[in-house]
């Protein structure tokens, strides 16, 4: 257990930096909207989503209706419907942790679970569970702490959230150096850039993901055809 915890902790340090400070920003915002640390705690435990929780504060302040809130939240979180595809078989092996692994599948945990090579000698299931659990804990601590002491932070932490950008860049680079098939990365980058320029930052995620899935479907068909032709 100790070996797995140490490995999971070392590999989640970038997420810790990002989640603690982003969480604190949320806690402070929520506190200023009239919701104390108890609200922050329960929200970060149960919702556990960055952009989703910021939307939540906005909805509460505008007194958005229930149906509208549901539709808004679904549209912001829609990108998640693609993430699970990667872990359908993998999570089934997780036993009792199966629902928790699904619940805690944020952008960052998704990237870590996929990008981290778990060394031999470590219990794989336990390590993956700990990575998911640690990420969630950082978020809860950040959100709760932000509501209590967020306003006391006087030193300048501007830019510390870049840790998560750097994490994604490192996973991207690592995959480029070790992986053979660069087509998915190229499809994602091209679709992402195109929709970023066309639609801007708050609308580009979903079309980029949808086009990437479409691109991968085409790639699979081409590969399948190639295999058939080889067999003939």
């Amino acid at each position: 257990m100790r070996k797995e915890l140490k490995f999971a902790f070392l590999n989640t340090i970038p997420v810790m930096l990002g989640y603690l400070f982003m969480g604190m920003a949320f806690g402070l915002l929520f506190e200023n909207a009239g919701y104390n640390f108890i609200w922050s705690f329960f929200t970060s435990v149960s919702v556990y989503a960055g952009s989703g929780q910021f939307l939540l504060v906005d909805m509460l302040q505008k007194h958005t209706g229930f149906m509208a809130a549901l539709v808004l939240m679904l549209s912001v979180q829609c990108r998640h419907i693609f993430y699970g595809l990667t872990f359908i078989e993998d999570f089934k092996k997780m036993g009792k942790a199966y629902p928790y692994m699904i619940f805690s599948l944020t952008d960052e945990t998704y990237s870590l679970l996929w990008g981290t090579k778990i060394p031999e000698g470590l219990n794989e299931k336990r390590t993956k569970f700990l990575i998911a659990l640690l990420d969630h804990s950082y978020w809860i601590v950040g959100c709760t702490l932000g509501a209590v002491i967020g306003s006391l932070i006087t030193f300048d932490v501007t830019g510390v959230d870049y840790a998560m950008t750097a994490l994604f860049i490192v996973i991207f680079t690592e995959q480029w150096l070790t992986g053979k098939n660069h087509i998915p990365a190229l499809i994602g980058a091209a679709a992402g850039m195109a929709f970023m320029v066309l639609l801007g930052g708050d609308k580009f995620l979903l079309p980029s993901l949808a086009v990437s899935v479409g691109g991968l479907l085409i790639e699979q068909k081409i590969e399948e055809k190639g295999e058939k032709d080889d067999a003939n």
């Binding site: 958005t64 990008g115 840790a163």
Partner: protein, 109 residues
């Protein structure tokens, strides 16, 4: 500010359920039996595309003007170069973050 307890709690519960639903969706759809070859293929190669999209999001999502973009790109190039040379995750991420913080706090103010 006075808050409406019941309303607020319900909105939080709706948000939690909606978020969980989007995360559970592919498992509800394909989780019961063994997924088809096509689903498995897309699932196994999708992360490569997702990571690329998240990098684009992190670099360009905050605004496309030079003042916002340049420090992110400079630190990003540093992360890539460091990582290609040393292959040490924490070193690449740590130094990249420190350089970015210095850039936005001292240079691109």
């Amino acid at each position: 500010m006075q808050i409406d307890f019941k309303y607020s709690a319900l909105i939080i519960i709706i948000s939690a359920l909606a978020t969980f639903f989007t995360r559970a969706f592919p498992f509800l759809l394909f989780g019961r039996k063994k997924p088809s070859k096509t689903v498995m293929y897309v699932g196994s190669y999708l992360p490569g595309a997702v990571i690329a999209i998240l990098v684009v999001y992190c670099i360009c999502g905050g605004g496309m003007d030079m003042h916002t973009l340049l420090p992110k790109v400079i630190a990003g190039v540093l992360v890539v170069v460091l990582h290609v040379r040393k292959r040490n995750n924490l070193l690449s991420i740590g130094l990249g973050t420190v350089v970015y913080m210095a850039l936005v706090q001292l240079v691109f103010v």
